[in-house]
Symmetry: C2
Subunit: 232 residues, 2 copies
Amino acid sequence: MIFRQLFDRESSTYSYLLGDERTREALLIDPVVDSTEQNLALLEQLGLTLKLAVDTHTHADHITGLGALRERTGCATMMGSQSLANCLSETFADGDQLTVGDIKLEVLYTPGHTDDSYSFYLPRTDGGMLFSGDTLLIRGSGRTDFQNGSAEQQYQSLFNRLLQLPENTAVYPGHDYKGWLVSSIGEEKRHNPRLQVADQHAYISLMSALKLPNPKLMDIAVPANQSCGAVS
Amino acid sequence: MIFRQLFDRESSTYSYLLGDERTREALLIDPVVDSTEQNLALLEQLGLTLKLAVDTHTHADHITGLGALRERTGCATMMGSQSLANCLSETFADGDQLTVGDIKLEVLYTPGHTDDSYSFYLPRTDGGMLFSGDTLLIRGSGRTDFQNGSAEQQYQSLFNRLLQLPENTAVYPGHDYKGWLVSSIGEEKRHNPRLQVADQHAYISLMSALKLPNPKLMDIAVPANQSCGAVS
């Protein structure tokens, strides 16, 4: 598999390009609209055809590239069935599989950061790769105080879904603000300060004490992302 | 091998952590001083002991973490024999090997960006990994207009050394300003605009036409880095 992690410096967002070596078909996870030209250049240089672009959830801190990529390439665009986006080819739900060439990603519904938050898992004998969106971050987790977020649901998503994956699963998050790129389930179990809580009640208390300011772009990004990146 | 690429957002610098799973000994390439605490935390969480910290060259755009890491961990600190740094445990030269546990990095002298520029190559059956400093960047190359840089030498370093590595060698650069993290020798051969020149003469013309402003931090970083990061 051809694999590239891509970084948007403005919003500290990671996007992921997965390309199948046999069919030369590719998938982009969480593309950023400002990187559309760069992403198209990279696809072309790697000899890949974009078949599918997906968002893990409705982002509030950057504008999605889904709409622009579909316009330019005709790729399919998908988000979870809970998404309010009005411009998707199709939606996915828990237990579905995203297939691009020989790449098969398992779809995990992991609400909490938002009510449309999903993670994608690529199983492999080495523990595989988890694209965890803003559900599980490196030494952190996505805030749960807007967009129908729920610390209670996030606790379940983290402890009963993601942390049940093999310890050696590589964790590729939706963001990192300190310059770290990847982690593992075992590492997060042991060293993520938000995962050291005694129970769901303690997790809810921890998250409700955060009192974070709203993201700068929220009032622009959320409506834009419900139109796959069209800014009105 | 435990491997982590780390990003300093301020200077768009990549640092690299390589850890040997058997001995739990580790090496850091191009650490940034501001990330010292973070790097020490990561080493500890991964159960690694830092044995060696190296710089690919004297950086002009950020302050090295070599001195701070040595103070905190007692690790060895190394740079190339051409370096003017007054604070190294030892120097390396072309053809040397850096050994940390079972990890063996080949030292390649690749002058051009500066006269003390080195690259490190980890041979493997899959093409291996190249840590190319500022000699070979993703779709670019390091400027050659200060610190005894030389476009002529850089052409030789690129075409006669680095591009002779297997096409599937992964290229991990010292910086990237567009959010790309890794490339390959084959990809750079085909798509790096600076490597499409007809000959050395054309490369020198291309580099001398760049007329870049000096890096913001140059007057602070270069002397500081000659003292392994001590800012006087």
